[in-house]
Assembly symmetry: C2
Homo-oligomer: 224 residues x 2
Amino acid sequence: MDKTTKAAPALSPENTRETLIREALRLFGDKGFDGASTREIADAAGTNVASIAYHFGGKSGLHRACGEAVAKMLANASGQTAAPHEALPISSEQLRLRISDILKRMAAFLFSSPQSDLAVPFILREMAHPGEAFEAIYSGMMEPVHKRLCVLWAGATGGDPESDEVKLTVFSMIGQLLYFRIGARAVSRRLGRETFSEQDITAIRNVIESNISARLNIAAKGDA
Amino acid sequence: MDKTTKAAPALSPENTRETLIREALRLFGDKGFDGASTREIADAAGTNVASIAYHFGGKSGLHRACGEAVAKMLANASGQTAAPHEALPISSEQLRLRISDILKRMAAFLFSSPQSDLAVPFILREMAHPGEAFEAIYSGMMEPVHKRLCVLWAGATGGDPESDEVKLTVFSMIGQLLYFRIGARAVSRRLGRETFSEQDITAIRNVIESNISARLNIAAKGDA
DNA sequence: GGACTTTAATCAAACGATTGATTAATATTT
DNA sequence: AAATATTAATCAATCGTTTGATTAAAGTCC
């Protein structure tokens, strides 16, 4: 509370940019664009208000930079999962494993990555007001991952990867995972905890895994 | 843009309150608490800024009233689904129908009710900052519905209604439904549409229905 | 290599605009 | 007339932005 002196002991000149982005990401995600003031951000970053205008042209420029930073985080997180031109595994069992693997990595990012604590609240705010940031996040991350899952899912069930049914089914699988993050407060409270424990996260993964398996059995049974 | 005269032609005196709440709900949901100014809200409601202080004591009082209004909307929507002391149906098939019925009603509210256009964005903003509004929404609506679904689910699968596994599984079913609303922009865009059509909503319901059926088959098979 | 200039970066201070809140006066209803 | 409701006008505070000064490092010239 009572910081009479500078927060940061000594800031390397080049680090002012990233420190501003990091703190802005946190405060934008926490309070929204209007709720976070430039002075508050600058204080948190241990610098002067004018630095925002100097480095980013203004508050909106800083917000844009935050969007790009988030897009980069997600690209890194999803880049690990996306082998560019992989050959489709033949067996349904292999396809199922690939699908589970992708969702497992998403869960790892969502629940165990410190980056996601900055990225997720920010993205949620952006979803309400789709602007440049949402655009970058959607076309750079969401759509590619979803498309890839559709191919795998259709391969396992025999449907058309670009059919509405496959698209929606894949969304329902991603959606339940994302909801555990979005609605984490409601979920953890219902479980009687303050936050998720490691066991909780494992339990969540198992539930989703079971849902996927159950659905793939039905889908494969119905189609093949 | 250029309203030289009053926006509303003539406002019935008693309606100032509800009009303020309705417009505040819309603007709070759209821009957040800080983003929506009292003057903007008052203009949208066709009244004076001071009316907010007069009727609600201030901006935060208006926000509180919005939370209560949302809680009331949700209570109405869920009240239809909650027969107070229903006897548990015996057969698993009946239980499954009850579960599907509840989720179907939730979907109807989320996608077809004009109220949800006001309520959902507002709630989403509240989820980020759990305050009084979140408290009322959670304990008044979310928890009772979830608890009831847990009883039904456990009845159909033979598990413990208050076990973590059942709780999380029910959350996963609710979550996929909610995500279709929360992430509607991403979903509809992936489908190549501006907004959901009636057919889309039906398709979403079918997907969730299939997920539930698939999971209940597995769960019943594994437990019974 | 020493003296001067340029550039990048940060700062305190101040700008006009807008914020939520308040006031006193007016209008409306009972 | 009294109570309720709405208004225009004003308040201090805070907003994002801009300014001019200051510092230190990099570049330039003789």
